[in-house]
Symmetry: none
Subunit: 203 residues, 4 copies
């Protein structure tokens, strides 16, 4: 008998792959190897299941972020760490990214109230980091929300667009491959570097 956490793993994969509307309670139950009624009994309806998945993903990511940021002082290192946590393999960055992209696209239609503070906390952590960088004279001042969009958007797109990259690659003229395949973490590092290049205050 799978644990509730096992069920949430399966559900997260389903919601990431097919979205809230596309995911099927039947399929989740079957994939998790629980009876559908048991799924309802243990976790609740589709909204509750989705909320549980989101809360788990976001709180894990947020906790990791707070813990690691608390131990780092250097402003650039903090930004780099921030990005690395975004794409950390441990909490399925493709699932996290896919769910977040869909949720943003849908205006947070299915976003439960309790994950909003978790999202806000992530932005807040970056905001604080940037502010300290400015105070230390390391960074030019910049809108932290937009910086967040750049990091988050670039990483999330890269984390999830693998299948599309493959299809596009299959279309491209041979000679010059559109993109040499980068691992997600390498891509995230490159993205952060580009961003830091733009933020860095040059004397």
């Amino acid at each position: 008998m799978p644990s509730n956490d096992d069920i949430l793993d399966i559900a997260a994969a389903a919601f990431a792959e097919k979205g809230f509307e596309g995911a099927r309670m039947d399929e989740i139950a079957k994939a998790a190897d629980v009876n559908k009624a048991t799924l309802y009994y243990r976790i609740g309806d589709k909204d509750a299941l989705y909320a549980a998945v989101l809360e788990r993903i976001f709180s894990a990511k947020g906790a990791r972020m707070q813990k690691m940021l608390a131990t780092i002082d250097d402003a650039e290192d903090r930004v780099r760490t921030f990005t690395r946590i975004l794409v950390d393999d441990h909490d399925h960055p493709e699932q996290f990214s896919a769910i977040m992209l869909r949720e943003v696209a849908g205006g947070g239609r299915n976003l439960p109230d309790n994950v909003l503070p978790l999202m806000a906390r992530m932005v807040g952590a970056l905001k604080q980091t940037l502010a300290e960088g400015v105070k230390q004279g390391r960074f030019n001042s910049a809108n932290p929300f937009l910086v967040h969009m750049m990091l988050m958007g670039a990483c999330s797109l890269y984390a999830t667009n693998g299948p599309i990259r493959s299809r596009v690659a299959a279309l491209a003229p041979e000679g010059a491959p559109l993109n040499p395949e980068l691992s997600l973490s390498d891509a995230a590092d490159s993205i952060t570097d580009m961003l830091l290049n733009g933020l860095r205050r040059t004397t």
Copy 2:
């Protein structure tokens, strides 16, 4: 009686707001003020409708992009123009963004074959622009695909996360608003500036 273009407008809004799975043929027909059977007679089934919407959005965006880029020489101006077209009000950037984000998140599951070249063409335009900038000694060399992710990701997220911003803002402690509201085009300009700061070759 609405034109097919009117129907596609309505359908685009529905797909952007609710996604492919969430959009309802009934609702689209009713919102477009056509009989459901007429919708099928004129355009076809849900897949065909979705494909028609995507093709129209992407080809409009792509045509605009090629035309405008053809008239601009300066490398930085080209990047700025690229972004501006991404968020151009004329072709509903929130819809374009929302559909694209969902499609990426879903691995292009519903992406019709004929829009792939259109997407590739957009990336190709940016790639060429960056390459010329490098040749002119204006830009440091950078992975054009990742640059694309940064521009596209940041702009698309900003274009669509208005509702979530509002909800988060309602949560935030008064004093310091998380983000002073920027218009989408101002945000896109700021995003481009940050990116160009990072790309620019300083002598």
Copy 3:
């Protein structure tokens, strides 16, 4: 522009192959290369089209039957001729058979009133033939309706069950093929022979 007769040809094939409920007005119109509205204008709705098809088939068969029987005196020859007309290639015996089998199976649900006399006339012709045979001392007395069922049933089944024969043959153990393939007219002759063997008065 196809003639009404051309349209009825196409419609007959459709009704024979798919039945009244299975045949599609769209497909018939397209196959006949007429606009669907033209089909309605020229012939009428589905019931009218079906009635026209049935009437044409049955009256052709009936006319042929009366003409040929009028010229034949010998009782056995008349029965043989009767069967031959049933399976005469000129009026698509598979279509005739398929439509008749379906109609019988459905209790004549879609059978228009004007074809009933045509069917009755066919039975009547056989009845009269058998009665004369009895009067001439050639045949034992027999229920003409049942004789009609035997001839009609056997010929109609054989005329239409080709596809099933093929599938069954594909299943059968090699060695002994279930049925050496007979042409429809040979089969009809054999069937008539068997029947006449049973009817014939032996002194």
Copy 4:
């Protein structure tokens, strides 16, 4: 709450009366007094329902046939028994006949694979019976497939054309009724007699 067997009874009647295309899942569900979704849950889609109906009808008939034939030695008795089973009241011969006639007319379009062997087995039983009759010197040699067509065709037509007989009778001039009404089993006996008359070897 009706059993699955009850549902199949209702469905068999519907398919027999209206054919596969004409039968409506809604009506079957309502007639069987089950919710439509329950019908799908318990049995499956229309194809599955049809397959279940056919399999039940054919396997019942086939089992009965094998059991009874195993206990009878006399060749003529075996043929008579064969026919009696075809029209045995216990398994709704009108339904069996109607479904089979439609299926043959349609080329077995909807015939599930698993009923083909059942049909073949019936023909095989007759074939074997005839062969033994020939070996015993009782029967003239005859094509067993055609004999099958005669028995099956005549009985099936008679089993199902009651409604048409009535309508034709209503048309006929009083005096001479076209056919004195025979019960199905009496008709089947007469049909078998006629056939046996033709098969019987006279010394």
